[in-house]
Amino acid sequence: MNAPGPPLLELSGVSKSFPGVMALRDVHLELAAGQVTALLGENGAGKSTLVKILTGIEAPDAGRISVAGQPVRFASPRDAWAAGITAIHQETIMFDELSVAENVFMGHMQVRGSRLVDWAAMRRRTAEILRELEADFGPDVKLKRLGVAQKHLVEVARALSHDGRIVIMDEPTAALSSREVDDLFRIIARLKAQGRAILFISHKFEEVFRIADRWVCLRDGRHVGVGAIGEVSAGELVRLMVGRPVADVFPKRAVPIGAPVLQVEDLANATEFADLAFTLHAGEILGFYGLVGSGRSEAMQALFGLSQPQRGTVRVRGRAVRIRSPAQAIAAGLAYVPEDRQTQGAVLPFGIRENTTLASLVRHCNGAFLSRERELATTREMGRRFAVKAHNWEQPLRELSGGNQQKIVLGKWIATRPAILILDEPTKGIDIGSKAAVHALIGELAAVGLGIILVSSELPEVMGMSDTILVMHEGRIARRFRRGEATAEAIVVAATGTAQSAAA
């Protein structure tokens, strides 16, 4: 291991609050040249806010940042970039209509003496970086022609194109196959050798232990621990992140499994998923695990009538149904809690009452006229059941925390009285307390006889909650596990297609 140099980047006492939320409280962070520092923390612990502060997207309310001993202030992303900080952001933030080379160089294009953009040089440099990354596409392809993993490589290339001393990687492996992860780690090793400081954010402990030299842990916006990676165990890290023993996180009750409520055979569409077949029983929780972009959400949305599958049969409670719209899906007894709460789940300017009854408006009407009384009755029932925290039932959702928003979205779907509940990443981006509450709720709902499909990227969640686990890889079900048969390693192997590539 490299000898720890002087801190290349130093954060001290950084705090940041948003209306209603204290996102970061007195956070310290040191990054040393030639080292990989892993930033650990649950969703909602403040990692993304920290990244935004480091990249100049958000300004901290308090605290100091210095780069190589020099105090700095970032008024804009430009300043952070100029200070040598480059980031691979969690969500792919790129320009579909532009070429790969342009995506790589946007914001810092090379110019010739005449101040005109030097396309040849940029293409050449991009091609070089892509070769290093062993990418299977060139610099001139339009970004919209690329797949998820390929787009991610473009982000990596973008970070490499800048001679930044500090590289932040916010979950860079989320959408990568294991071979691609190996490539990425080789690159990280080289960056390390060049003396750059790397902040590596990942949920996958295996990766953290493989690549990181040091770790820093955040919980609820606070700094809860720091150390060398060789002196810590995974168990200790989880305890630090979660703040309580792991066993409590996923309450799972033993529930009798009933009759089949949903039978899917040979579901497929042209480009996203194929050969999907599974059966869901009353009281059963069926876990769908897979990498981001493995086709899980797409399959669920087709099931819910949001897109049209090309073939396949779907039976609800034994009866074959053709679902062409969400309205028909709701009528058939399906409910779908989408992955993206802010854009797909909640109507943020609407109040709690209006959100709760949105998917079952007909039942809250006299004729065409809305009945406020009936709406309130449902809202109170759901609010109590899910322990929603709010001032009043008219409060707009945009004023509530992510956890409370998610409870209301759940309530909206329970109000449709479904037989089948599809949950797409139900705990993504909500705080730890709400997360436990949502898990408890899922357990309760299964107990009263709902069939539940739980789509999740969080291994402990899937393993802790599910009766059956289906692992998706590249649009197909790669493996099926019964509860108790599954090990974390086996699931990850199936999800990353390692077994397949080894066989091939």
Partner: protein
């Protein structure tokens, strides 16, 4: 298994209604409009003794009632993030249909029916292109605007159709009652506002429109028929444009290729001034009605003191920009004092986050109070 986490056990007390705060009422856009309207009436009365004459007033209403009738469906379209720029061209086509039927010697009721049918058909063309082919409505209706008006021009050339029967002309020129002597178009506007108001603010269809306008994706995911709603709103817009075409043709007694030219901009101005955000999901029918009266009063008052219409339009244009800009600027000011201003109102109120339409998914680099981290 361990006891469930403590959070689940906790229960919160949640009120049924939002607290009543007088400040909220004052900050409502409708309140601003009421004040402006009152001011306009007072000023008009002071500068012209003729202003409060009932016959003058009812004359004045005829000038804007036809536009106001189209403003109602336009408001609903803007509410769901669409726009119909072809309304004035639909009037031209509807007026052409009336002219052709009149030449054929058809009775007055059939003339009106023809206008309505042509209007609805044009609306269906717009609706199909937007909701079925999924094209942006602003471009679609710029295209159909040329197409519809162009067809009228081809049919009419540089001539006009005149010589309408008295029975037909009385629709646009006569009054419904002897006193107050209100023109039919004005009475129709009032009745339609009532229907639109109830439908939008009291029924599930209205709720669905607000949901679609606020978040079309979430609305679709919640099983609401988003595309059907869009289609029907365009048909409605066409239908009422046809009605306005009939009223206008009857009032002026002729069909010309340039009839109602440029009305779409006035109608959009009414809607925007009424508090409907171009970004969708905001605005009320009472607000729209107030804006119609405000514009009518200002225009009428200024014309009484012989200010030409073109100069009045400068004022109207400025009024529209200021009406949108002011809440944004005030919000920026107040944000420093009260970072957590709650604005539980659906109408445009100072403190709401309305995002420019073309920047709909612009950074607010992460939603204000909804963040998790």
């Amino acid at each position: 298994m361990n006891a469930p986490p403590p959070v689940v056990a906790e229960r919160y007390r949640v009120a049924d209604r939002a607290p009543h705060r007088p400040a909220d009422l004052l900050l409502r856009w409708e309140s601003v409009l009421v004040l402006l309207l009152a001011a306009a009436i007072v000023v008009n009365t002071l500068i012209s003794p003729h202003f409060l004459n009932v016959y003058n007033l009812s004359d004045a209403t005829a000038d804007f009632s036809e536009q106001a009738i189209i403003a109602l469906p336009m408001a609903l379209l803007i509410l769901v993030r669409e726009i119909d720029l072809s309304v004035s061209a639909i009037i031209a086509l509807a007026s052409l249909a009336i002219g052709l039927c009149s030449r054929a010697g058809e009775p007055a009721w059939l003339l009106v029916a023809a206008a309505l049918a042509v209007g609805a058909l044009c609306g269906a063309v717009n609706g199909a292109l937007v909701a079925v082919v999924r094209l942006p409505s602003i471009v679609v209706t710029i295209g159909t605007m040329s197409l519809f008006r162009g067809i009228a021009q081809v049919a009419l050339g540089d001539k006009a159709i005149t010589g309408y029967s008295n029975a037909f002309q009385s629709i646009g020129q006569g009054a419904v009652l002897d006193w107050p002597p209100l023109p039919a178009s004005f009475v129709l506007f009032l009745l339609l506002s009532l229907v639109f108001g109830i439908a939008l603010h009291r029924t599930r269809y209205g709720r669905a429109l607000y949901a679609i306008g606020s978040n079309p994706v979430a609305a679709r995911f919640s099983g609401l028929p988003v595309d059907r709603a869009r289609f029907l709103l365009f048909v409605l817009s066409g239908l009422l444009s046809g009605l306005a075409g009939a009223l206008l043709t009857a009032r002026i007694g002729s069909t010309r290729p340039n009839i109602a030219l440029g009305w779409e901009l006035t109608v959009v101005t009414m809607v925007v001034l009424g508090g409907f955000s171009i970004a969708g999901g905001e605005g009320t029918i009472p607000g729209l009605v107030l804006a119609v009266f405000l514009l009518g009063t200002v225009t009428w008052g200024l014309s009484l003191v012989n200010i030409p219409a073109v100069e009045i339009s400068v004022l109207v244009g400025a009024l529209m920009i200021v009406a949108i800009a002011l809440p944004i600027l005030l919000r920026r000011l107040t944000r420093h004092w009260r970072p957590e201003t709650a604005a539980p109102l659906r109408s445009r109120s100072i403190g709401n986050d309305d995002v420019p339409v073309s920047n709909r998914d612009f950074p607010d680099p992460e939603g204000a109070s909804t963040r998790d981290q």
